[in-house]
Each structure stands twice: as structure tokens, then as C-alpha cells.
């Protein structure tokens, strides 16, 4: 007997890139968690005799940077930072977005109009402009980056949650619960939220991808994570000057960002296909 869950899983498995992505994400996650153990060197250890060491020399698998620090070790530790910011920012995005969306969708009326206008206001800003304006004026740290990225990305989640709740609100089981006198919180928690999980899950994975990308932009421009703490973005901060002398220092972090972001994007794609069969490629 196939439950909706097993059907979803079947559909997911058919989406090959998504499956590969899961594997990649697991690998990245393990790399980040065990960065300490996996790093051949201390990522902040400066050894000027190894300045710009080429890959596979002096014990540096991926070479060394301008201070002789091991690139592989820095890459692993930077992954920790970038992935942490990505996931944490996603959490902020989802929580804020779902909250605003549910209030707007469920209560409607004035609250809806105001919140919708607020969402529009936020969407009117080009994301980088807004991000840069905030990041440049705030003391940069993991926490502040997370908050800034999260606070500028919740709008998509809000729209999704709101429209879903608007649709569900009129359904029989919700009307029934209201008729029985159930409190809004209970209705939201027991009836509405469980039915938005699918949509939110998809939005969440895409939010992680987006957050990692945004963090790299801000750090590249110099307003994000500050050295000596390494993130994939700020390792590219001076990438331009490395191309001539040590291209591997500039290529590796960019590659990691691309792989991570692409994996989360594919995962989101796969989830979308799995959870909503209407989105599966139409058969002629």
C-alpha cells in the first residue's frame, strides 16, 4: 500500500541530480563538522616559508595562500562558516516568512494589507543594494550576517505561505474546526502548518542556496565575514591578485560555492517534484 510519503520518495529518487545533491550535501556537511579533524594543518597557522606553495608541495594538497596557510584546511573551515551562515539564515528566513505569511493569510483584512505592502516594500529593493547597505553599516560577524541575510530574504516564503493558507482556509476541515470553536493558534498548528510543510521545505532549501550565495557576495565586497575568520566568500576577496601568482587560491573557494549552491538548488528542485506531482514534467 503506497502512502503519499512513499510516492513522494519514489518521485524524488527519480530526480537524479537531486539524489546526487543529497550525497554532495552530506559530504559537505561532514567536511564542515569534522573540519578540525580532517584539516591537515591549522587553518590560521602562518608559515611564511610556504608562501604561495603550489598544490601537492610541502604537504599542501591544494597549495598554500599568501601567508603560507594551507588552502585545504582553510577551505574546510571556511565551509563551516559559509554553511553555518547558510543554514542559520535559512532558519531566520523561514521563521520570519512563515510568521508573516500566516498572519497575513489567516487573519486577512488590515493585517494582510499592511503586511503585504511591507513585503512589497522589501521586494522593491534590489537584494544586494539592501544587503550591502545593511552590512556596511553594521559590525560584521557570523551573527549579524545571518540576521541581515535572513531579514532580507523572507519575502518569498511569506508569499508562498500566505497563498497556501488562503487556499486552505476555505477548506472544509478548517471551516469545521472553526465552527467547533477551535482557537486560531490550534488551527494554525494542527491543520494549516502541516499542509504547508512541503512548500516551506522547498523554499527552505532554496533559501540555503541563496544565503550561501549572498554571503559570498557581501564577503567578496569586503563587508561580510572579516578575516582572519575564513568564509568561502572572503577567501575570494582578493582573488583578482591571485590569478597571476597562485590561481588555485582563487579557483577552489569559487568551486566550493558553486557546488554547494547547486546542490541545494537541485535538492529543492527534487523536493518540489516529489511533493507536488503537478510540477513533474508534463508528459505530452
Amino acid at each position: 500500500m503506497s502512502t503519499p510519503a512513499t510516492l513522494a520518495l519514489e518521485r524524488f529518487v527519480r530526480h537524479r541530480p537531486a539524489v546526487v545533491s543529497v550525497a554532495l550535501i552530506v559530504l559537505l556537511g561532514l567536511g564542515a563538522i569534522f573540519a578540525g579533524r580532517l584539516s591537515p594543518r591549522d587553518p590560521v597557522y602562518i608559515d611564511l616559508t610556504h608562501k604561495f606553495a603550489r598544490p601537492l608541495t610541502g604537504g599542501h594538497v591544494l597549495g598554500a595562500d599568501e601567508l603560507g596557510r594551507d588552502v585545504l584546511s582553510r577551505l574546510l573551515h571556511a565551509g563551516r562558516v559559509s554553511l553555518a551562515v547558510g543554514l542559520a539564515a535559512m532558519a531566520v528566513t523561514v521563521v520570519v516568512g512563515a510568521a508573516v505569511g500566516s498572519v497575513a493569510g489567516y487573519w486577512g483584512g488590515l493585517a494582510d494589507t499592511v503586511l503585504l505592502r511591507l513585503t512589497d516594500a522589501m521586494l522593491s529593493f534590489p537584494p544586494i543594494f539592501m544587503l550591502l547597505a545593511l552590512a556596511a553599516f553594521v559590525r560584521p560577524s557570523l551573527a549579524s550576517m545571518t540576521v541581515i541575510i535572513g531579514v532580507t530574504s523572507w519575502m518569498d516564503v511569506t508569499r508562498l505561505v500566505r497563498s497556501q493558507i488562503l487556499t486552505l482556509r476555505e477548506r472544509d476541515f478548517v471551516q469545521g474546526a472553526r465552527a467547533l470553536g477551535a482557537r486560531p493558534a490550534r488551527i494554525l498548528a494542527r491543520h494549516l502548518f502541516p499542509n504547508t510543510v512541503g512548500i516551506v521545505a522547498v523554499a527552505a532549501t532554496l533559501a540555503v542556496a541563496r544565503a550561501i550565495l549572498l554571503e559570498s557576495y557581501i564577503s567578496y565586497l569586503g563587508y561580510g565575514i572579516q578575516p582572519p575568520l575564513a568564509s568561502w566568500g572572503n577567501m575570494l576577496n582578493n582573488a583578482q591578485s591571485y590569478f597571476a601568482t597562485a590561481p588555485w587560491v582563487a579557483i577552489c573557494p569559487g568551486l566550493m560555492i558553486t557546488v554547494a549552491v547547486a546542490s541545494f538548488n537541485f535538492l529543492g528542485d527534487g523536493l518540489r517534484d516529489a511533493l507536488d506531482p503537478r510540477h513533474v514534467r508534463a508528459r505530452t
Binding site: 590560521v44 597557522y45 602562518i46 611564511l48 608562501k51 599568501e66 601567508l67 556596511a136 559590525r139 569586503g222 563587508y223 572579516q226 578575516p227 582572519p228 576577496n237 582578493n238 583578482q240 591578485s241 597571476a244
Partner: protein
């Protein structure tokens, strides 16, 4: 400002400014360049302020040097060169009155503005009027507010009447660009005149031709220049915000002169062997320091400062991070200064000694590897301008050096617009990694920066951001400003450097050496540490025939 007697001023002028002899205008003996051609100067900031009297940053001066003139200029040897003036006023030639209160300047005749109108003494007076106008946001009033009145007995003579003798008057007016009265006097608001941003008109060797905002601006030769038509047809200032890209464009020949900050030390090795390029290594008067905030608990003890100096691998910073380009230094004056003390004790990199000193001073190693004394952990922040690559590397190195002796240094960098605000001025930092140019010109005085009465965090004004207080140093500083005889002054400042070095008020690292890159074949490029921009003599630039 400390009061100086009139006699003292005159003696300073007679002794110090003696180099300001009748020099025949700005014509220097030089290779004769061919006529025509253009030079592209690459700048990592964009010049946008074309009225030289408005607040501006160093990069704007590039344009000012081309479009405007001042009464005289300081050349690379530290001598005054007459520009709009016929000769440098002195007591001997009657230009300076015996009581030091009157300066009479004879102006060059036949000078015209770029729009053809004649330059007269009225323009000089107008310049002073404009700066003193309370509605006009002049960038400085130093050298202007000491003047009681400006008289123009005839078109080619200007007489300044001072309120009190002012020793740096000549230096201050070497920086005073003359603007045209006939253009600016009728303008409703001089702060927002078109002159400032679109059509500056001066008497200089180049006219303002065109500008593409955010990209470049073009200056075209002024054939009627009083110093002779410049050999070049055009000078273009190209804005390239990234230093690496600037260097690449210089490498590929798109840029002829690397302006201002020049070439970053990391490219020096490669730049040395580039064909078709001439590098000028040029001592700049700026010195790189680690500033302590003596108001904070850890730095009150000399022992801590000493230990930090010993634990610092100064040589590695200079040789490895900066590729050996700048010169190590032990004091605040560069070796080119006439008051330089060459006998200061040299830095000794000795981590073991540092640990000893800290142990003896009672800073014991804690369980976390960081020392503590009386409940205070030896943990502080170091700040510098964010985005300065080489400084960030220096900080990383310092962090490692100091960790090895049990000191925890945290890095806290901020953008320039933040760090040099209240954080700096009101002494809110722990330590800074900073480069300071004590003053423009050759004077070793630094009273404003080290004297205990000039702590802005306490009294509201002054530049003693380190909050350093040393009565011995105070006295030396006061004596140095009052003393008139150069020999005696030298003794005072030599002692000052020795005192500051032994007390380690700050940690000196290196004195800047700028690497200025010029395309081969370009003639008469002269680095000059007495001015703030290396385009100061662009009227002499040209290409080899």
C-alpha cells in the same frame, strides 16, 4: 597655538627658509621632451572636487596641480619655487617686514586665466576673502585666519598684514591655490558653483577639458601657460578602484603612471623585471605604527609595551608581507629628515625575552594560554582599515607572534569611514595599525599628536589619540616649537625620539617607500615627498623624442 616672539619668527625664517632663494620660475634643467602626446595616470580613487579650496582628499590634488597655481610650491628638495610670485618673499629682499607682520609678494605679470582674462592681485585677495567667508566650506583656515587684511596696492603686488607673527606662513601659502575672482564673485553660492564640478578655471599648465564620471577625466594643455606651454597635449586621470586591476593595466601599458599609492609591494618583484617600465622608489614621510591607547589597562605598563615589541617579528613583516620594500624604523621621523636620530636602539625579535619580561611584571600564564594579572586578561583588539590586504596579513602575523607569548590579540577592522571617525578621534580603540604622516613639509614638530594637553577624549580637541602622557616629552615638545636655532632644535628632537623610543609610546614598524611606476620613455617624472600628489610637476612631463 604657542606664542612665539617676532624675533624668533624672523630667525626661523632667516635660518630655515633660507633655501627659498630667488629661483628662476619653475623651469628646471631637464631632457627636452618632444611636443605632443598624452599621459594616462591611474588612480585608485576618483578625483571629484575641482575647487581646490573645498574639502578634498589627496587624489583631488592631482587635478589641482594641473589646473591651478599657487604663489609658490615646494619642490622635491624642500625648496620653495616661485610660481605665481616672482620671488619668494624674505627679510633680505624686503618681502617680509622686520617685525614679521607684513608679507609683500610681487606677482608675475602677463599671466592669464584659462578663459583669457588677466590674473591680478585682486584674485589673490579674493581667494583669501572666499576662504574666510563663513558661508563657504573651505577645507582649512590655517594660514588664512592669521591674516588681518590683504592689500592690493597695484595689480601685481599683494600685501598680507598678519595679526601676529606666523612661522609656517610660507608653507601654508605654498598650499594656497588661487581662484579667479571674476568667475566666482558673482555666484550665488560658491559651495555649489559649476566651477567646482564642471568648469574649474585656473592659471595652471592644463585646462579642464572633459569628464566621464566614474571613469576618467581629461586635462588639456594650456598653451598660454606663464611657465611655457607644457610638452604634453593631454593628461588623463583614469579611475581604477582596485589596485590589482590598476597594476594589470599598468603592466599592459594602458596606464602610463601609477598615481598616488603607486604599486602595491606584492607586485614589486614582478614589476622590477617588467620591460618598458621605470620604477621610482621614493621615501614617503609616512610611518607605520602600532598605536597603543594608553588609557586602557594593559598598556599603562612599560613592561607590556616592551614585551610586545620583543615578541613582534618586525623583520618578517617587512621582508615577507611587504617584500622588503619599506624601511624599518625606530622613531617617528623618516631617515630623510634633518632631525632624524640615527642612534636609536634597534628592534630585537626575542620571544623568550618577551615572556621573561611579562613573567617578571606579574603577568602569569593562565590555563587558556593567555596571561593575566590582577584579574585582567592580556587580551585586546587591534584595528585597521578593512580591506587593506597587506595590513590584514600583518595583523594575522602579529596575532600569531603575540599568541606565542601568551597575549591574545583580536582583530576588529572597520571601513575607513568608520574607523577614522569617533573611534579614532575620541580614543575608543585598544590598539591600531596605522600609517601617519606627521605633517606636510619638513618640520619635525608633532606637538598636537603627543602632548598631554591635546587629548580629544578629555579636552575635546587635539590629535593625541593615544592618550599618551609624559611630562618629559611635553617639555621637549614645547621647547622644540619655541627654539629658533636649527642646530639646537635638532638636539631637542633627537632627544625626543630617544625618549619616545625608550618609553615605547607606540611601536614603530617601518617608514613608507612608495613604488611609483612610470612607463619608460616618459621624462621629468620627479617623486616629491613634500607634496601630496606625484603630479605636482606635470607641466614638465613629456615623452622622449
Amino acid at each position: 597655538m604657542t606664542r612665539i616672539s617676532r624675533r624668533e619668527v624672523l630667525q626661523i625664517l632667516a635660518g630655515g627658509g633660507a633655501a627659498a632663494v630667488l629661483a628662476p620660475g619653475l623651469a628646471h634643467a631637464a631632457d627636452t621632451p618632444k611636443r605632443g602626446g598624452q599621459v594616462v595616470v591611474g588612480l585608485s580613487q576618483e578625483p571629484t572636487v575641482f575647487n581646490p579650496l573645498r574639502p578634498h582628499i589627496e587624489v583631488d590634488r592631482g587635478v589641482h596641480f594641473g589646473v591651478f597655481d599657487s604663489l609658490w610650491r615646494t619642490d622635491e628638495k624642500g625648496q620653495f619655487l616661485p610660481n605665481l610670485a616672482v620671488e619668494i618673499p624674505s627679510v633680505k629682499n624686503g618681502g617680509i617686514s622686520k617685525n614679521g607682520l607684513e608679507y609683500t609678494v610681487r606677482l608675475r605679470k602677463g599671466v592669464t586665466w584659462h578663459d583669457g582674462k588677466p590674473f591680478t592681485a585682486r584674485d589673490v585677495k579674493f581667494t583669501w576673502d572666499l576662504v574666510m567667508n563663513p558661508k563657504f566650506g573651505a577645507y582649512t583656515k590655517v594660514g588664512y585666519d592669521v591674516i588681518a587684511a590683504v592689500e592690493t596696492p597695484d595689480d601685481a603686488t599683494v600685501r598680507f598684514k598678519l595679526k601676529e607673527p606666523f612661522a609656517p606662513f610660507l608653507t601654508a601659502w605654498g598650499d594656497a591655490w588661487i581662484v579667479p575672482a571674476h568667475v566666482l564673485e558673482g555666484v550665488a553660492d560658491p559651495n555649489t558653483a559649476e566651477f567646482n564640478t564642471r568648469s574649474p578655471i585656473g592659471t595652471g599648465p592644463f585646462k579642464f577639458a572633459s569628464r566621464v564620471a566614474g571613469d576618467h577625466l581629461v586635462l588639456a594643455a594650456n598653451p598660454a601657460y606663464h611657465g611655457g606651454a607644457p610638452p604634453l597635449e593631454r593628461v588623463i586621470f583614469k579611475y581604477i578602484p582596485d589596485l590589482t586591476v590598476l597594476y594589470t593595466q599598468f603592466k599592459t601599458g594602458a596606464v602610463d603612471v601609477t598615481g598616488m599609492q603607486g604599486i602595491s609591494a606584492e607586485f614589486y618583484g614582478e614589476a622590477k623585471s617588467l620591460p618598458g617600465v621605470a620604477l621610482h622608489l621614493h621615501h614617503s614621510p609616512s610611518v607605520e605604527y602600532i598605536y597603543f591607547n594608553h588609557g586602557k589597562p594593559w598598556f599603562k605598563e612599560r613592561a607590556v609595551r616592551q614585551a610586545l615589541y620583543h615578541a613582534m617579528d618586525k623583520r618578517a613583516i617587512i621582508e615577507q608581507v611587504y617584500y622588503g620594500v619599506p624601511k624599518p624604523i625606530e622613531g617617528y621621523l623618516p631617515s630623510t629628515s634633518w632631525a632624524y636620530n640615527a642612534d636609536l636602539p634597534k628592534h630585537e625579535y626575542n620571544a623568550e625575552k618577551a615572556r621573561q619580561i611579562l613573567d617578571e611584571a606579574g603577568w602569569k600564564l593562565g590555563a587558556d594560554g593567555i596571561r593575566a594579572k590582577g584579574g585582567v586578561r592580556l587580551s585586546f583588539t587591534n584595528s585597521t582599515t578593512a580591506g587593506n590586504k597587506l595590513r590584514e596579513q600583518t595583523q594575522a602575523l602579529l596575532q600569531q607572534n603575540w599568541r606565542a607569548v601568551g597575549v591574545d590579540m583580536q582583530i576588529n577592522n572597520m571601513p575607513a569611514a568608520v574607523i577614522w571617525g569617533e573611534f579614532y578621534v575620541k580614543s575608543k580603540f585598544d590598539t591600531l595599525l596605522v600609517g601617519i604622516q606627521a605633517s606636510v613639509g619638513d618640520d619635525p614638530d608633532c606637538l598636537n599628536r603627543i602632548h598631554s594637553k591635546y587629548i580629544a577624549a578629555e579636552t575635546g580637541s587635539g590629535r593625541n589619540v593615544s592618550q599618551y602622557k609624559n611630562p618629559q616629552v611635553d617639555k621637549l615638545l614645547e621647547d622644540g616649537v619655541r627654539e629658533v636655532d636649527r642646530g639646537k632644535r635638532r638636539t631637542i628632537y633627537v632627544k625626543l625620539q630617544a625618549t619616545l623610543r625608550s618609553d615605547l609610546a607606540y611601536l614603530p614598524i617601518f617608514s613608507y617607500v612608495r613604488i611609483e611606476g612610470v612607463k619608460q620613455g616618459m621624462l621629468n617624472y620627479k617623486p616629491n615627498s613634500n607634496v601630496l600628489h606625484n603630479t605636482w610637476n606635470m607641466h614638465e612631463w613629456g615623452w622622449r623624442a
